[in-house]
């Protein structure tokens, strides 16, 4: 497709009610694996037009009309293309060209989602405010780093350290690029892996979460089938994870349901009274990806960390000489 402007090449509208919840126990929407579980396997693009949080001006409006959405999506497109056209000599220009690496385009397939936001709970489509305790924890972390941000590798973010990309741990959220997921199934297990994340091997037998949860970056996950929906419960997060300022007591529920042969629905709920006074959550579609996911060996290629630290050392030496 050579046309660089936004155009609707092919529209496939599935005429069904615009309600986003998947019913459990309803008519089968998926084929079956050889051992009889609903088949949710495949490679999927997480990318969707809905932003994580709803524009506050929209209030409780959950869905755009098709016309409103076309306008909204077009506006976002224009905004994003500007991101790759930065003025030489400005700090904003210091990056590689996303377009060159096919990263200004989400694999050519984007699920156009009439929702005004991924977040659906609470009703205003926005993540609830942090509790005082969460604000205090956040501020303490920032204070501990202040003035020391380049002292050593442990002062850098978890993504810079190649420990974990936050949006690949549960709940999984779309991100700027490589925003893809693959799902494998075998009797008794579902494996969920984000392209820049770790494989999560999740049992399907409905066992409860273990009593002795050892903290892990991806938490510990257990799963069960509720009709057509695979439900995953995850808890036991690493205390340094602080996903969106969450505490290590965060509990995430994910619900994955096949909607049709190209689409899954991914819904999630986050419960962490130490961080948010009310549970919150959302939903977005996963669209079949035409292609494979490839290895993302991060720490092995992390020249960037060395460059950041050596640059800071040179800067300190220069400052000392003045």
């Amino acid at each position: 497709m050579k046309n660089p402007t936004y155009s609707i090449g092919v529209l496939a509208i599935i005429s069904l009610p615009l309600v986003g919840c998947a019913q459990s126990g309803g008519e089968p929407t998926a084929g079956r694996t050889a051992w009889g579980d609903p088949d949710i396997s495949g490679a999927y693009a997480e990318f969707t037009t809905a932003p994580l949080e709803r524009n506050a001006a929209l209030g409780d409006k959950e869905f755009f009309t098709a016309e409103e959405h076309a306008e909204f999506a077009k506006g976002r497109l224009e905004q994003q293309f500007d991101a790759d056209e930065t003025e030489p000599g400005t700090a904003a220009d210091v990056h590689y060209s996303m377009g060159q690496f096919a990263l200004s385009e989400n694999e050519g397939v984007t699920s156009l989602n009439l929702r005004t936001s991924i977040v659906t709970q609470p009703k205003n489509g926005r993540i609830p405010p942090l509790t005082e305790a969460a604000v205090a924890r956040r501020d303490a972390r920032a204070a501990a780093r202040r003035g020391k941000e380049f002292d050593g590798p442990e002062m850098r973010s978890l993504t810079e350290r190649c420990i974990i990309w936050s949006s690949t741990q549960p709940p999984i959220l779309p991100r700027g690029y490589n925003s893809n997921l693959q799902i494998f199934q075998s009797p008794g297990y579902v494996v969920v892996q984000g392209e820049m994340g770790d494989p999560r091997v999740i049992p399907t037998d409905g066992r409860p979460l273990p009593d002795n949860l050892l903290p892990q970056w991806n938490g510990t996950s257990v799963g069960r089938w509720e009709g057509e929906t695979f439900v995953i419960e995850t808890a036991g997060f690493h205390p340094d994870s602080a996903w969106r300022n969450a505490s290590e007591n965060m509990h995430v529920t994910e619900r994955i349901t096949r909607l049709d042969e190209d689409t899954l629905e991914y819904a999630f709920t986050v419960v962490d009274p130490d961080t948010w006074a009310e549970p919150w959550g959302g939903t977005y579609p996963l669209t079949e990806l035409d292609g494979l996911l490839y290895e993302y060996a991060c720490t092995e290629g992390n020249y960037g960390m060395a460059n950041i630290l050596s640059g800071a050392r040179v800067g300190e030496q220069k400052a000392a000489q003045q």
């Binding site: 056209e85 030489p88 590689y96 096919a102 156009l112």
Partner: protein, 136 residues
């Protein structure tokens, strides 16, 4: 009950607002006050994560050859489009506009990278600095 989804195939699609954020902030690694323009021959191509690195040999005015490493993006989307390890042959001549690392070494982020004849590195179109032409 189903979500209505419109599946669109388009030549240029949408990114969330965090588009410019890679696994790290570039301004901490590279120096806006150290712009570079380099021409050189490819000696090594590392199509790796979290960032690709292309090594080129630049011959200075003094006739001496110096190796530079140029940072690019994650290769995974490229591979989905048919790019392979052989797509940038060793010995190809490249032109790079970018910014050098803060530590003063021979490394830079490739803000714009083309073959010496103006062809885009990966998809054959012609790119000029600031041009965000989508892959074909």
């Amino acid at each position: 009950m189903r979500l209505t989804t419109l599946v669109i195939l388009c030549g240029a699609c949408i990114l969330p607002a965090a588009v410019a954020r890679a696994h790290h902030a570039f301004a901490t690694e590279f120096d806006v006050n150290r712009p570079v323009t380099l021409e050189g021959k490819v000696t090594k191509v590392e199509l790796i994560n979290p960032h690709s690195w292309i090594h080129i040999e630049v011959v200075g005015d003094d006739g001496k050859a110096v190796t530079w490493m140029i940072e690019g993006g994650s290769p995974n989307a490229l591979v989905r489009r048919g790019i392979t390890k052989n797509s940038i042959p060793v010995g190809s001549e490249l032109v790079i506009r970018g910014y050098g690392t803060r530590d003063g070494s021979n490394k830079a982020v490739g803000r714009d990278m083309t073959f010496a004849d103006g062809r885009a590195l990966f998809f054959g179109g012609t790119q000029t600095p600031g041009d965000a032409a989508p892959p074909q």
